[in-house]
Amino acid sequence: MTALSPTAPSKPSPEPSSKASSKAPSRAGRPGPVAWLMRQLSRGVVQLILAVVGLLWLAPAFGLFVSSLRPDQDNASSGWWTALTNPGDLTFDNYSALLDNSGIIDSFWNTVLISVPATVTVVVVASLAGYAFAWLEFPGRDWIFLAVVGMLVVPIQVGLLPVAKMFGAVGLFGTIPGVILFHVAYGLPFAVFLLRNYFAEIPKEMLEAARTEGCSELRIFTSLVLPLGRPAIASLAIFQFLWVWNDMLVALIFADSQSQPLTVALQSEMRQFGSNIGVLAPGAFLSLIVPVTVFFAFQRHFVQGVMAGSVK
């Protein structure tokens, strides 16, 4: 619903109003052409303002991108904008160096190895629970669900210490499964909440019909609820994936040097920012290429997922 292009494209408002004023020029008490000119002018101003804002938004990332294409010495001595006058100096050397940097590449794969299972697990576990909360009867259902709603805003900081101790005791600390488990647990409240609300909208009659036909609950779940819930599941999956992919805090604590994802690997290069742009800039692009691709590929679900989960 809150996709970038609203379902009903918002009409540019000046049009209706210009119609209105042309209908009643006497009431406006102003000569038409002047008002028209003023409107066009103000529209031009608005266009200009938004164009400037848009450029402001693009410039920082663009700057880093250009920096990532410049040799270290150039970055150390001059700003990225100087490269625009002679683009011939840009090279992909930093990127090829990055691809040869086993530390960074290993951490990139770690990011994948963390994000994908964490997303799949959350979707599976939350779908099951969401269905149970929406359509299965059991004592204390509402209270338990309220507790889940309460957990929505629990800051992950609260869990860091105790879970770290717990994982240390069972040997999960510093491992990829440990990082995944933490993400799953703290992704669940939102996921369960979202899916339960979506599943609850499935017409009751459909489920009853399936039940009277003797379908098992598992069967109803897999062949009815999951397909119907696909839009919500897609939004959830994208949101969760994005969250885990971009996470630094959890990995900073729960991953060790062998299991660290890209964010942590790059963060440790941050300390010598000035002299490490050659690694950091292409590294940043390596880390954002995946979520940005996901964004453009699944724009609609992406926006919905982000909107829905923004508070986490």
Partner: protein, 464 residues
């Protein structure tokens, strides 16, 4: 949506038909067996979620609350000591203060900017493209954003784009100094004025030669045509002329004598120089030639001091210290806005799109001004959406961590500190005081409790 369930993809709907089958029919044993079976099924569906939530979310909350009552090593019960320590420790206090600034400033700014942009995008045809551009940062990690903005905020105007602009604008109005690092070796000949200018201590009269030596001029600062000063320094002044050289009183490689124009030493070209009379008025002005020589001719007899005005020595303007201790928090908030403005705008724009067009048009036909329409119709109708954006941002901002950790350089980290970061620093990042860390965790939790209650009440209302 969680805290503010207004815009779930499906829109939160009341539970359809609450009364499940079977609850009203007692004592039917096959039915009861079916009930039991159904409960078992429900349990199986729920088990994974409940186990994970119980062990990794619910239990840790209790543990943290308990742990916060013990000392750093966890062996001694200290009661509320960690909580009082929180307000004694300057670093933590600073973190609390900064978090307050974040909460007061960022959500309001974001909501306001989002509103303005949402209204403006209604007037353009390329609104979708614009929204796309502003929304993309939502896909980017805080870490990548941090890297991006470290380049933006870089202090060196040759490298940081923001300061390059600042310096460019500044220098358009103010011509740069020639020799910012030049200075007299000591204060025997020249005395430094309050404004940064240098004036000779002894007076000179027409017919005199006054040579002024400066040091600390990097060879690369010297114009290429700068020539040896020796010859001009030895020239004698005629009649009403006062002359001399301004030169670099340092022989590279050593061997030069201070105060003496040695053969290899070069003149300083383009230095502004003034003859000042007894009343302190500059009666003659000139600049030095390529061998550093200057002369004032046709001076009326009398005593003059020679002055080198401050602008020659002014430190070059190097822009704003974005990552310094005073501006660091606003700078990080700026990066944060870069990420979240798109979110606020898109949410508000959706609210605007749902606005009843006919009401607005009717108002326009009735002659209401755009401002009146905005104030009387748009704003009230939009209030719930604005509230959602605002509350969402407040909750978000309380937990801001990565961005601060990544952007703030070491020396100012403490000046940029926020609660979530301090909690991490205290418990993991070297402090290893898990008691205090837990207390900070509890404080964070308490801060979001209003949102938690808000969620629960809202949810219950939607169910009834």
């Amino acid at each position: 949506m969680p805290a503010t369930p207004v815009k779930a993809p499906a829109g939160p709907a009341p539970l359809p038909g609450r009364a499940g089958p079977g609850t009203t029919e007692p004592k039917d044993s096959p039915r009861r067996r079916a009930d039991r079976r159904r409960r078992l099924v429900a349990l199986l569906f729920l088990l994974p979620a409940l186990l994970l939530l119980g062990a990794l979310v619910a239990y840790p909350i209790l543990f943290t609350v308990g742990r916060s009552l013990f000392d750093a090593s966890g062996t001694r019960f200290v009661g509320a000591e960690n909580y009082t320590a929180m307000f004694d420790d300057p670093a933590t206090l600073k973190a609390i203060r900064n978090t307050a600034i974040w909460v007061l400033v960022a959500p309001a700014l974001l909501t306001g900017l989002g509103l303005v942009l949402a209204v403006l995008t209604e007037k353009i045809r390329w609104a979708t493209a614009f929204k796309l551009v502003l929304f993309v940062p939502m896909a980017i990690s805080f870490l990548a954003t941090g890297i991006i903005f470290r380049v933006v905020y870089e202090q060196d105007p040759d490298r940081g784009v923001l300061n390059a602009v600042a310096v460019g604008v500044h220098d358009a109005f103010d011509e740069g100094a020639h020799y910012p690092t030049a200075r007299p070796k000591d204060s025997t000949v020249l005395a430094k004025g309050k404004d940064g200018s240098y004036t000779t201590k002894e007076k000179a009269s027409p017919g005199n030669t006054v040579n002024l030596g400066l040091v600390g001029v990097p060879p690369k600062d010297l114009p290429k045509d700068a020539g040896p000063a020796r010859k001009a320094a030895d020239a004698t002044a005629h009649g009403d002329e006062l002359r001399g050289v301004v030169w670099v009183d340092f022989t590279l490689g050593g061997g030069g004598k201070p105060g003496q124009v040695d053969p290899k030493e070069k003149g300083l070209p383009q230095v502004a120089i003034e003859a000042v009379d007894a009343k302190g008025k500059a009666v003659a002005k000139t600049t030095t030639a390529s061998d550093g020589s200057y002369h004032f001719s046709k001076l009326s007899p009398g005593d003059y001091s020679i002055r080198l005005p401050a602008r020659t020595f002014a430190e070059p303007y190097t822009g704003v210290e974005w990552l310094g201790p005073t501006l660091i928090t606003p700078a990080i908030i700026g990066a944060y806005m870069w990420i979240w403005t798109g979110f606020a705008m898109v949410l508000i724009a959706a609210g605007l799109a749902a606005m009843p067009r006919d009401v607005l048009e009717a108002a326009r036909i009735d002659g209401a001004s755009e401002w009146q329409i905005f104030r009387k119709i748009t704003a009230p109708l939009l209030a719930p959406v604005l509230g959602v954006v605002f509350v969402t941002m407040v909750i978000n901002v309380m937990k801001v961590f990565d961005l601060v950790y990544v952007i703030a350089p070491g020396p100012v980290q403490e000046d940029a500190n926020v609660l979530a970061l301090q909690m991490w620093l205290v418990s993991f990042g070297g402090g290893n005081n898990q008691g205090l860390g837990s207390a900070l965790g509890v404080l964070l939790l308490l801060l979001v409790v209003p949102a938690m209650i808000f969620n629960i009440r809202r949810f219950r209302r939607s169910q009834s």
